[in-house]
Symmetry: C2
Subunit: 393 residues, 2 copies
């Protein structure tokens, strides 16, 4: 691909005239047409037009058109990019954006990514283990601190708020952070390394950025953003802010509204992969195919590969518990963050045992021992597998 162009693949359902649509995209989403009055600007106007690179017929009857757009049509951000490649066009009929190739330096580069997160945690050689505060709503700041204290010394690497917990009167975000901060400090003093707590951001774009700065000023070491609900430009602003020097975890909430339809929107590999990596996310959560959300393997792998292409940490999530660790590691190896909510918090012997069960599963996976319940000795992993089942039984 030419470094100065943006290539986009559009898929149209059977029966759509792809040539015609590609023409509408290449012209209608760029300079448009112009009349004799603008002949003196002909060269410049022409330089903004898109170019149809190819039209291909797929075996399922759909067609795919690839259009190249000049880099000079956009400002380097995801907002203007989305407006150009699919803005008004999205209102016109069935079409799905299924491929996007951006120049390497387009947008914001993740500051940390998986390597940077590992460095902050000083854990280089195993998958990272992440938990979610549960229940999602209804806990006080002190409840959060109590839960955190339960898991902090069990070997947890990262914890995050549930994505549906905003800045509420009953549990204001800053208060939650202030209640939890001493536990993280004590843990660092004891173990010599950090436990990251990705605090959920909310509010309007301006309030959200202020909240993020305040949290970081008060020592917060990671942030969580519902990127699709708040907008990629909000992520970009956080990632570009020199005061916000902590890893940003991107949550996939609302991504299905853009990506789940077969013939509309943009593919998950774009919304949760490519676009996230050019907007500055350090880690991205998305459904693991073995979990509670029925995600096709191809989609999951496409997201994973897009993230890895720019060093962003893949975080397969939703329904993750110790028993499915073998399946996830078969797909990912150890370069992954395993994120469990109830799969840690609802362990029969409590959240600390939930964390220990993941460590035990990792040890067991390395030795190649069976995950059949009867083969696992009594302990945290066995209790987890008895409750939630296992793969590779």
């Amino acid at each position: 691909m030419s470094a100065a162009r943006i290539e986009v693949d559009y898929r149209f359902p059977s029966g759509v005239n792809a040539e015609k649509q590609a023409q509408i995209l290449a012209v209608g989403q760029t300079a448009g047409s112009w009349d004799a009055r603008f002949q003196h600007r002909d060269d410049i106007l022409r330089s903004h037009l898109g170019e149809i690179l190819r039209i291909e017929q797929n075996v399922d009857g759909s067609t795919q058109a690839t259009v190249a757009f000049p880099l000079g049509n956009v400002d380097g951000g995801i907002g203007s990019l989305l407006t150009m490649i699919f803005g008004k066009y999205s209102l016109g009929g069935a079409a799905k954006v299924v491929g996007l190739r951006l120049p390497e330096d387009y947008g914001v580069r993740p500051r940390y990514g998986l390597a940077g997160i590992r460095k902050r945690l000083n854990i280089m050689d195993r998958p990272l283990f992440m938990a979610i505060f549960k229940p999602a709503l209804g806990l006080s700041a002190d409840d959060h601190a109590e839960i955190l204290a339960e898991v902090a010394l069990a070997g947890l690497d990262i914890i995050k708020d549930d994505e549906i917990l905003p800045n509420l009167a009953g549990a204001p975000t800053l208060e939650r952070w202030r209640a939890c901060a001493p536990i993280l400090e004590a843990r660092r003093d004891r173990l010599g390394r950090d436990l990251l707590y990705a605090v959920n951001l909310s509010g309007n774009a301006n309030e959200l950025q202020k909240l993020a700065r305040q949290l970081v000023t008060e020592g917060a070491n990671a942030l969580l953003l519902n990127v699709l609900a708040y907008g990629y430009p909000v992520l970009e602003a956080l990632a570009a802010d020199p005061e916000i020097d902590v890893p940003i975890f991107a949550h996939p909430a609302l991504a299905g509204a853009l990506s789940a339809a077969p013939d509309y929107g943009l593919s998950y590999a774009l919304t949760l992969g490519t676009l996230m990596t050019h907007a500055g996310a350090d880690a991205v959560l998305y459904p693991a195919r073995y979990g509670s959300l029925p995600f096709p393997a191809a989609e999951e792998h496409a997201i994973r590969d897009a993230l890895r292409g720019r060093g962003v940490a893949p975080v397969p999530s939703a329904g993750v518990h110790p028993g499915i660790l073998p399946q996830i590691l078969d797909d990912y190896g150890s370069e992954v963050i395993l994120n469990a909510g109830t799969g840690i918090m609802d362990h029969p012997a409590g959240p600390a045992a939930g964390v220990l069960a993941f460590h035990e599963a990792w040890e067991r996976w390395q030795t190649g021992d069976s995950f059949a319940p009867s083969a696992i000795p009594a302990g945290p992993l066995r209790s987890a597998v008895d409750k939630w089942g296992s793969a590779h039984g």
Copy 2:
């Protein structure tokens, strides 16, 4: 509806167990489940749960579930609202959000709306006429000024940038504004009233807000935002900013990615209607059913009604030209902003004649005279109808 709750209608395609899905929504998108450890917080946790109000069978085989969510689960913004009502759930399968009832005071109230825009323009008794700078890309700041000068005295009320024009090196937004400002000033001096120029905003969320403030400081009297590409929380931040005391026009770019699929996402009446009106938009553009984008009448009317319910100006757009004015006015009466791009800029006798043609069409519509080409005397309207056709011929 109870004032303290948020009611959401979800539509599921035939074959989906709506009762089960409604249960997942009411519990999984709120407090989730909790175990014995949290019995001391039972009442509080329970207060966050959603409640299934009804399940209905539609004649087409689809089912609809209405779930009420406590207002205390969200922070008053659209970001946390979207995360709660459809966040993680959107990743789980086919479901479309087709109804949303919010308390009157939820979110940000539009500061101007149609009444406020009329007041600024001092035009109370007719539809407002709006144009778009064309071509969208490739014009210099001086070209913009030249186009503006052509239409300023012809009776145009509002002009906007094309939504795909961001802050580009070749035509920086501030330079475009500075080139155009003297023309608007001269026009005000001459006619005694403003022509609004909705300047397109771009950049990351932080840059965008700064740009908006700078523009307003330098006299800009309206702004344009691609709300779906940038995020509702970006609109909220603009609408809540006391320094940004000008009408905000919302563009529908990318709305199709969220709303066009029959069984996924959120209906257009929500993305371009309800949500816009609670996020602070003063005017919202969307496809007119008689225009160039094939929009169903029911969708267009649902958007219109949602906007009018909170005083927001409806701006039917895309393919609007003088000949379809009768059809639009049949649907809207005079409480509407008619927005034309090429339908003004590409008039055979030039943009000023394009504006005059709209005024002529308005006069003609009031008298009930035919829009058949042969019935229209020579002049701007006749030329427009000869080029683009007409309704009620």
